[in-house]
């Protein structure tokens, strides 16, 4: 692959890193990352991956941009309110870096479509930027079954967490940690929840870092660790987590061989009511 002069300049700060260099930048340009959810986590992850020159970025989201998204979902702007999130995201990425081929999936991930989306471009790495447990378990199980590496993350209030799954027999998956979604009724209501906008920026950017490191084969990923971030205490903790032999999807005797759509309570922000 020949770099244009513009590309050499654009990626010069990467190329200067001996661990990346021209060869590493070429790997990034030839790589494909799927981002599921273009919200608080997915938006910053997508921006940095686009800036880094990830050659193909898939965006999965069935939602439209709402004014209340703009406090943290920095890939969307005021002019985008009411637009499809995937199209708004694609436009921002195209303006940032024309090297990136953006593939849009204007749909929410379900048990019906997720494996086809992952296989569509044979993505190298998947980023879970979703905001609900049903989607998190779905993405986990799909990636385990399809043997795809992915980054899980969650944020709430002033806290965040993330881990990375690498498809081998030792890396714990999300289900190894949290066997099943929390019992219904335990889900905090919208008014109790809320999130400081920058939490997605911190944690989503860490997810992008994991994707880039995985593609380049650099350093250690968070495979086997849960990293937690407390924005109020300004404290990061890296907790060792082990593969769970009793895990329903990747344990010794898996019971989950097909994908599950868990009930996903939606939320009316104006009334604070949960709608099953």
């Amino acid at each position: 692959m020949d770099f244009s002069e513009e590309q050499i300049e654009r990626y010069s700060r990467h190329i200067l890193l001996s661990e990346v260099g021209v060869e590493g930048q070429e790997k990034l340009l030839n790589s494909k990352v799927l981002i599921i959810g273009t919200g608080g986590l997915g938006a910053p992850a997508a921006m940095y991956l686009a800036a880094a020159g990830i050659g193909t970025i898939g965006l999965v989201d069935g939602d439209v941009v709402d004014l209340s998204n703009l406090q943290r979902q920095i890939i969307h702007q005021t002019k985008d309110v009411g637009k499809l999130k995937v199209l708004s995201g694609k436009a921002t990425i195209n303006e940032l870096n024309p090297d990136v081929n953006v593939i849009t999936y204007n749909e929410f991930a379900t048990s019906e479509n997720i494996l086809n989306i992952i296989k569509d471009q044979d993505y190298d790495f998947i980023i879970d930027g979703t905001d609900n447990f049903a989607a998190k378990f779905l993405i986990n199980d799909a990636c385990v079954l399809a043997k795809k590496p992915f980054s899980h993350a969650g944020i709430i209030r002033f806290q965040g967490q993330l881990t990375t799954y690498i498809p081998d027999n030792n890396t714990p998956c999300y289900r190894c940690i949290f066997q099943t979604p929390p019992p219904e009724g335990m889900v905090p209501t919208c008014r109790e929840a809320g999130v400081l906008g920058v939490m997605g920026g911190v944690v989503g950017t860490l997810q992008a870092t994991e994707a880039i490191k995985y593609i380049l084969g650099l350093g250690q990923t968070l495979a086997g660790y849960l990293l937690t971030y407390d924005g109020l205490k300004m404290e990061f903790k890296k907790i060792k987590i082990n593969h769970n032999k009793k895990c329903g999807v990747c344990g010794d005797h898996p019971t989950i061989t097909a994908l599950i759509d868990y009930a996903n309570p939606s939320c009316d922000l104006k009334t604070g009511k949960l709608n099953g």
Binding site: G37, G39, G40, L41, G42, A43, S68, N69, R72, Q73, G129, T130, D131, N132, F133, A135, K136, A153, G154, I155, I156, R157, Q159, G160, Q161, C176, I177, F178, Q179, T180, P182, P183, M186, V187, P188, C190, A193, G194, V195, G200, L226, T228, K237, I239, K240, I241, N242, N244, K246, N264, P265, C267, L269
Partner: protein
């Protein structure tokens, strides 16, 4: 007895279960956590039956939703 919870040394009474320990530690929503005991995950329905021992190391991990509503 001495135990460690999320890396912090604690001194609690003997023979407490995981459920009791979560109460002592003032975990707000015990149904929203996963517990690793000496590196092994404890099934949620075993919380009431699992009795802690001296020098046990416990990690309490919280469920965290996503970007917007924390569902």
């Amino acid at each position: 007895m001495k135990i460690k919870v999320n890396g912090e040394a604690k001194n609690i009474k003997d023979d407490v279960t995981v459920t009791e320990m979560l109460k002592i530690e003032e975990v707000e929503m015990p149904d929203m956590v996963s517990v690793q005991l000496n590196g092994e995950f404890v099934d949620r329905d075993e919380f009431t039956k699992t009795i802690l021992k001296e020098n046990d190391e416990i990690e309490v991990l919280y469920f965290m939703g996503g970007g917007s509503l924390g569902l």
